[in-house]
């Protein structure tokens, strides 16, 4: 066991730090959260800067440890988040890289890396959430096109996306997982309409996407027809790898800020609150170690994230909610003021035990795939 780094990794970190210190002060202020076009421009602009500096493909080509260092250092330096580039860089891009034809890779990957095109994800449907394989959006073959009709939900960045990685049902007669196909759909195609969805935090972070006889060229299919479920699983395994590294670093900073605030407002004198903060510190230290452990494991297995990602997600999503619940205790009456720090974060944290596989689904995955317990209900 070893927690130290190679000289190459130390050098990568030092160079990255130096670059961040140089470029971050030159960045304009972040866009207002409700201004989608401004957010798109800002996020793409950051990706372009990463591209020019040689960091664009760190999510794809670098070793897991290098990726870990990148995510750790960018978060610590206060660099912008991946934002609108999320689906392109972490879902659709890796899927196309793994399963696409040379033509498809040449068409779609460079614009993602250069910060020119935004992708969104059309997987979940109103009646297909945790049970994703129940999706019903239909696609018929008509000449060189698929004709797609149905609806998708929980689609982030749909308002400003150029492309949608879309799961459709091409064979309704096949067993559930068998009749699904993965398509790249242009968001400006006739028949696509987007309706923003307001979350309990008051913001419009997601949208519903309605598809009414949308024509998608057959050439935009990645993988074979009816093989979309397998193609999709490639994508999902990426999400559970290093996706939360930056957030764990950020949570550890928030925890220190919470302690400082508690000292200032006198609540630090409450031993129950103080020990709760101490316990959270233990929790986030362990989550950081769990990340390092999982990354080391992925590296040993040739870059493929293991089922340890589900263990991490279960524990992290709960810890994040506990962090912001504790923040409310530190704030006291101010915890009801939306203009105070951490109050909106507390609301957002409620999605963590639901999004990207609910905690209940994650427990099924842990129990069935790691512990080998029988499937059932």
């Amino acid at each position: 066991m070893d927690l130290s780094h190679t000289p190459e990794e130390d050098e990568f970190r030092a160079r990255l730090r130096e670059w961040l210190a140089k470029v971050l002060p030159t960045l304009p202020a972040g866009p207002p959260p409700a201004d989608w076009p401004a957010r798109r421009a800002y996020d793409l602009g950051w990706q372009r800067m990463l591209y020019d500096a040689g960091y664009a493909d760190v999510h794809w080509d670098a070793s897991p440890t290098t990726r870990l260092i990148f995510l750790e250092e960018t978060e610590k330096a206060g660099a912008p988040y991946v934002g609108a580039n999320f689906v392109g860089l972490l879902h659709a891009g890796p899927t196309i890289a793994a399963e696409g034809t040379p033509e498809q890779r040449a068409r779609w990957l460079p614009p993602i890396l250069r910060g020119e095109e935004v992708w969104c994800q059309g997987f979940s449907e109103p009646d297909a959430g945790s049970d994703l394989a129940a999706l019903r959006t239909r696609a018929w073959r008509d000449g060189d096109d698929y004709v797609v009709t149905g609806s998708k939900i929980w689609t982030s960045h749909a308002e400003v996306a150029d492309w949608c990685e879309l799961l459709v049902r091409t064979d309704p007669g096949a067993p559930r997982h068998g009749g699904i196909t993965w398509l790249a759909m242009p968001m400006d195609a006739p028949g696509v309409s987007v309706r923003p969805l307001r979350t309990l935090a008051g913001s419009a972070e997601f949208a519903e996407v309605f598809l009414d006889e949308v024509r998608v060229p057959v050439a935009h299919r990645v993988g074979a027809e009816n093989d979309g479920w397998r193609v999709t699983m490639v994508t999902l395994s990426f999400e559970r790898g290093t996706a939360f590294v930056g957030e764990v670093v950020a949570c550890r900073r928030v925890l220190r800020e919470l302690a400082r605030t508690a000292r200032e407002n006198g609540r630090w004198d409450d031993p129950v609150l103080r020990r709760r903060l101490g316990r959270l510190e233990a929790e986030f230290r362990a989550l950081w170690r769990l990340t390092q452990w999982n990354v080391s494991e992925a590296e040993a297995n040739g870059g493929v994230p293991g089922a340890g990602g589900s263990v991490f997600k279960l524990r992290y999503s709960h810890a994040r909610q506990e962090l912001y619940d504790t923040a409310a205790d530190v704030l006291g009456p101010d915890g009801l003021d939306l203009d105070r720090p951490w109050v909106l974060d507390r609301l957002s944290s409620l999605s963590y035990t639901i999004a990207a596989g609910t905690s209940q689904i994650q427990r099924n995955i842990v129990a069935e795939r790691i512990l080998g317990l029988p499937k059932g209900r």
Partner: protein, 299 residues
């Protein structure tokens, strides 16, 4: 490419070597025999543990040790915890190289820990002042306890100096072993016990208890291993909190998965839970670790 935060081949070999010795010298029959003869420490087993290097592990080779470090000690103590190995293991390990005979298993060493002393009657040497202590009817049939008068402050075995709190770390390693073992026991039972015509592990209510057992164990595992590598007191405090939680809650959930059998003397589950409770009380319980980490946040 460096070795990374995963067990090395040597470390895996060490772990399976210790497990093999313990399976042979302290299998289920020996465990139940020990439960039936409370308070008796098997000196032959103790010498065998000495021969296997459990106490001398971290001593330099020139002093008859194996010259290994905290990560290896943690792996060995994880196995000891897993096997429910009785005796003042941590105190004797810490006395190796200082108290003659401790490293070879000839001398059994215990230590006063706050207001409690484990295995006082069986020990040859007591570190700390046990004057005025009296035996209590120990909750754990495998850990005889003496109690010092309330308010006696004899200090924890790690002391309050600036040394690495090794006793706390090794206790956390034992708790990790318990957490891993009760996870296995719960899963085994959930796979084989049938009700309503199927294994109870097919029901989500049971399945999710098992998933939580594993999640707590694996989180504690990385915290304990990392603390062994850094030897940082804050990392050790974190490891302790997570390992206590994984062991105590794990043993309780394991008991729940076992249903009525879990409440019997015959099943081993209660032995794991009781030992986890004893270890969780060491060093005065969790408070100090929580306060240490809280203080760390504002430095």
């Amino acid at each position: 490419m460096s070795v990374r935060f995963q067990l090395s081949d040597d470390q895996r070999a060490l772990r399976s070597g210790v497990r093999e010795v313990l399976d042979r010298r302290f299998g289920r029959e020996a465990l139940r025999a020990a439960v039936d003869a409370p308070g008796r420490l098997d000196r032959e087993l103790w010498r065998a543990l000495g021969d296997a290097g459990l106490f001398a592990l971290r001593l330099p080779e020139a002093e008859g040790g194996a010259g290994l470090g905290l990560p290896e000690a943690v792996l060995a103590f994880e196995e000891a915890g897993r096997a429910l190995l009785p005796g003042p293991l941590v105190a004797t390990h810490l006395a190796a190289g200082t108290v003659p005979g401790a490293s070879t298993g000839e001398t059994v060493v215990t230590a006063v820990d706050g207001e409690l002393v484990e295995w006082l009657d069986a020990a040859d040497v007591v570190r700390g002042d046990a004057t005025g202590s009296a035996p209590i009817r120990s909750l754990d049939p495998l850990t005889p306890l003496h109690r010092l008068p309330a308010g006696t402050d004899s200090g924890a075995p790690d002391g309050n100096g600036t040394q690495i709190p090794v006793a706390t770390l090794l206790t956390a390693a034992e708790q990790l072993g318990t957490a891993a073992r009760v996870t296995e026991l719960a899963v085994q039972h959930a796979r084989t016990r049938e009700q309503f015509g199927r294994p109870i592990g097919a029901f989500q209510a049971v399945k999710h208890l098992c998933a939580d057992l594993l999640t707590r164990t694996e989180t504690a595992r990385v915290a304990v291993y990392a603390a062994a590598l850094t030897a940082d007191p804050a990392d050790i405090a974190a490891a302790r909190l997570l390992a206590d939680e994984a062991a105590v809650r794990g043993a309780r959930d394991c008991l729940q998965v076992h249903g009525g059998m879990g409440f019997t003397w015959e099943a081993d589950v209660h032995l794991h839970l009781k030992r986890a409770w004893v270890r969780a009380q060491r060093g005065g319980g969790n408070t100090e670790s929580e306060e240490l980490l809280a203080a760390h946040l504002v430095t």
